[in-house]
């Protein structure tokens, strides 16, 4: 009896030892050298695997960083400048500092501002709705409100506001990875420069229709009246296809354009209340609307 047990143990241990030797030999023979810096760089990255850098995940981005001779074109939007500096240190290379950015939703077509003229009952997805028809309102450029952007966000930084039917961005959580920008079929969401105290000035509209049609579809549509372009002291506003656009790099947040906009299409967020009451009551009510969308 004991001999049987003994033989069993011995033969199995022997088998194990032989297999271990073969495996060791194979591991030595077919060894693949991997740069240890890849692991280091990956460690330094945030590990969100969001794809904001253009690579499938942090590991692939780390590999690309280690392989590249010049890493100034590479940027991790989630980790930001700090992470990139750390990566540069590990790799002993230079990185250019980039401005922090934040996603903004360029549509203010809430249920109140933009009438629903038809009912859509198909699959609840902006992409599918956009492929079938121009949306439930008369504005075929604006937010479809099915929340494709919310679905793709890995950072809980964007939510649908039930009251307005529009998505809103929580600036503190937003890492500017760009997932929502890609998900939006109407290209409403834009990554814009992050100003101090998360202040924002942007044209909250993407409607390229002629003024009458745009205004009919939505109360707060940009009608391309050119007033903001004329009033801007920094040449920061361009007008194309009946739609104004504020260039973030040129804008100095002076808010002159906000005052002249006849349809309140320019969003002004994060500023303290103004001292001089230049604006009329109508304007104030619109501001309340705007802050409601944002809260």
């Amino acid at each position: 009896m004991t001999t049987t047990v003994l033989y069993t143990i011995l033969s199995l241990s022997g088998l194990g030892a032989v297999a271990a030797m073969i495996l060791y030999a194979a591991a030595q023979k077919f060894k693949v050298y991997e740069d240890p810096r890849i692991d280091q760089v990956e460690e330094a990255l945030p590990g969100a695997n969001c794809g904001g850098c253009g690579y499938p995940g942090c590991r692939q981005f780390a590999e690309a960083l280690v392989k590249a001779d010049d890493i100034s074109d590479y940027y991790c939007p989630v980790g930001g400048n700090d992470t990139m500096k750390e990566v540069a240190q590990i790799l002993g290379r230079e990185v250019a500092e980039q401005e922090p950015k934040v996603a903004v939703v360029r549509c203010n077509g809430s249920f109140q501002n933009r009438k629903r003229t038809s009912i859509y009952e198909g699959p609840s997805s902006c992409a599918i709705e956009a492929s079938l028809f121009g949306g439930e309102t008369d504005c075929q450029y604006g937010c479809l409100g099915k929340g494709d952007c919310v679905e793709v966000c890995d950072f809980e930084a964007i939510f649908m506001n039930e009251e307005t039917g529009l998505p809103y961005v929580i600036d503190d959580n937003c890492t500017a990875c760009g997932a929502c920008v890609d998900a939006c079929p109407n290209n409403i969401i834009e990554l814009r420069k992050r100003y101090k105290k998360d202040r924002k000035i942007y044209v909250s509209c993407v409607n390229e229709d002629k003024p009458a049609a745009a205004k009919k579809a939505c109360q707060v549509a940009c009608i391309g009246c050119n007033k903001c372009v004329k009033v801007c002291p920094f040449d920061a506003i361009t007008l194309e296809n009946n739609l104004a656009y504020i260039i973030p790099d040129k804008c100095k947040l002076c808010r002159k354009c906000v005052d002249v906009c006849p349809t309140n299409a320019i969003a002004e967020i994060g500023f303290p209340p103004r001292r001089n009451k230049r604006r009329n009551a109508k304007k104030e009510s619109a501001d309340q609307e705007q802050s409601k969308n944002q809260s």
């Binding site: 003229t117 009952e121 198909g122 699959p123 599918i128 492929s131 079938l132 121009g134 229709d209």
Partner: protein, 444 residues
Amino acid sequence: MLKTFTKGGVHPAENKITQDKAIEKAGLPKKVIIPIAQHIGAPSSPVVKKKDQVKAGDVIARSQGFVSSNIHASVSGTVAKVDHVVDASGFKQPCVVINTEDDQWADGIDTSDALVKDIDASAEEIRQKVLEAGIVGMGGATFPSHVKLSIPEGKHVDTLVINGVECEPYLTSDHRVMLERAEEMLVGIRLLMKALGVEKALIGIENNKPDAIAHLNEWLGDDPQIEVYGLKVKYPQGGEKQLINALLDREVPSGGLPLDVGVVVHNVGTALAVYEAVQKNKPLVERVVTVTGPSLTHPTNLLVRVGTPVGELIEAAGGLPEDTGKVVSGGPMMGKALKTLDAPVVKGTSGILVLPQKWAHREKELHCVRCAQCVDACPMGLEPYLLKQLAERERFEDLEKNSVLDCIECGSCSFTCPARLPLVEYIRYGKTNVNQIIRNRKQQ
């Protein structure tokens, strides 16, 4: 045993309310909105501008490229604007809007009812006239007809199939054309045969139109070249691939055209338009549209000008009923809900369907239980439940491998699904993206 296609198919309630209503000529619309892209292929380029005077039959947009089509003014009057207007697709499309002034036709157009039976034109002349007249497939697909008449090198066509199936429930426009314009349509068929150089034409008609079958047989007498076939009623028999399968027992290969099996298919409405274009020199500016719905007071078949706003047709049919929930352009299976009643009738509009509130809404979606009823119903032998899941997960490469582009969007799968899943919507979304991927690949 009546012929029909082999794979899949469903049989929705036929509801052909208007089948006994003779074609009425609709009054002239106050204005027409004519989209410059009413066909598959390149959009035409407008040749008129604001304030131009046009007569009915004048070209207002020229075809761009081979797969494209001319667009003609359907009324005489002044061009009000050339602008983007919401059409039946629900998108804003470039359109020419004409304010009607009087009823004048361009020179050289014969608007009389006299039948011109003798065929003088040569095959090439017929093709040229079809191209000039802007004729497109009038069954709904709106593929430019002159392309179908130009047989490429190396292909051989032996049979012309005429599609008088009209398998969509409610629609009766083709049925009425076959009853009331049979003689002209038959001349049209002979013209098509001459253009294609074929000796044989088959007309496929579903057996729920026995009067049309009898009527055509009467006109044909013992013509050896044209035969009329009664087919078993089954949807989507009007799909050209299904019709070829039913009539000739040939199968069009995946991704192929009817040309690959030696067949060309044209709709009865197209045959009539070809007759008018070649024998009467009249471009495609009018078509028969069924205006129907269970609660309409006066459902009817109307001969209307292309570009007439849908609202005017509904007025002619007794006005919009109070319980209206949805107005569909086309039939209930493949039609598209309209966003606005100002959307115009186009060359491919075969019907306007007004549905009451109780039928207008989608029922609650349940989960797919893989019962495979959609697989049984699919006339193209696809697996709709799988395609839906792949499209939902945006796996477009896999969709392409699963032949999503063969889908004819007939809606049989959605119709039969016990979980009421919107299968066609997902598949259509998948197709759009797969087409995009293929285009990108070609560019590289």
